[in-house]
Amino acid sequence: MAYVTDRKRATGLGSAKSGTEHFWGMTKSSVALLILVPLFVFTVGPMLGAPYEEVYAYYTRPFPAIVAALTLVVGFMHFKNGVQVLIEDYTDGLTRKALVIAMICVSYAAAATGLFAIARIAL
C-alpha cells in the first residue's frame, strides 16, 4: 500500500461509481412513465372494483393489456433504481448491499408476476 499514491487509492472510491449511467437510466424511464402512467391510471382505474367477468374481458383487449404490461415493467425497473438511491443515502456496508439486492429481487419478481398474469388473461 505504501507504494500507491493518494490519487491512485482514491480512484473508483467515489459514491457515484457508474452514476451517469444510472442517472440516464432514470431519465429514460421517467419520460416513458410520463406517457404510460396517465394511460395506465385511466385504463386500470375504472376496472378496480369491477366484477370478475368485466375485468377479464377488458384485459383480453390489446391496448389496456399492453399499457398495463409496459407500465408494470418500466415502473418496477424505475423503482429498482430509485430505491437503490434511497438505500445508498441512509445505509452502508453489508446492510446496504443486502437491501439493494433484496429490492432488485422484489422489483424483478413483481414485474415478472405482473407480466405473467396479464399474458395469461390476454392470451
Partner: protein, 127 residues
C-alpha cells in the same frame, strides 16, 4: 491520508439538520411518494395475478382493494403517483439547466403539491 475503509465514510446529511423549506419538503416528498408506491404496485400485481387465477381468488383481491382500507391506500397512492409524476417533470426541467433559481424552484414545488391534489380529485371523479 485518504480514507481507505469505504464503510467508515459519512453518509449524506439529511432531514435532521436543515430548517424545512419548500425546496427540501418538495424533495423529500418526491422520495417518500416514489418509494411508498411499492405498496400500491404490489397490490395491483396481486390483483392481476388473482384475476388471471380464478374468480374466487379475484373476489379476495377485489374485496381487499375495495375495502375502506384498500380505498384509503389507493387514493393516497393515486396522489403519490401524481405528485411523483409532477415532481419528476420538475427534475426533467432542471436537468436541462432551466428553473434552477430558488424562486422558480419554489413555485414549481407549490405547483407539484397543488397540481397533484387537483389531478387526484379529477381522477377520483372520472374513474
Amino acid at each position: 491520508m485518504a480514507d481507505v475503509n469505504p464503510d467508515d465514510r459519512p453518509l449524506s446529511p439529511h432531514l435532521t439538520i436543515y430548517r424545512p423549506q419548500m425546496t427540501s419538503i418538495s424533495s423529500i416528498f418526491t422520495r417518500i411518494t416514489g418509494n411508498a408506491l411499492l405498496i400500491a404496485g404490489l397490490l395491483i400485481v396481486w390483483w392481476f395475478l388473482a384475476a388471471s387465477t380464478s374468480p374466487e381468488y379475484f373476489d379476495l383481491a377485489n374485496s381487499v382493494i375495495t375495502s375502506w382500507f384498500g380505498d384509503l391506500v389507493m387514493v393516497l397512492s393515486l396522489w403519490a403517483l401524481w405528485y411523483h409524476t409532477l415532481a419528476g417533470v420538475r427534475h426533467l426541467i432542471w436537468d436541462t439547466g432551466r428553473g434552477l433559481d430558488v424562486d422558480t424552484a419554489e413555485k414549481m414545488g407549490w405547483a407539484a403539491f397543488g397540481g397533484s391534489a387537483v389531478l387526484t380529485i379529477i381522477t377520483v371523479l372520472v374513474i
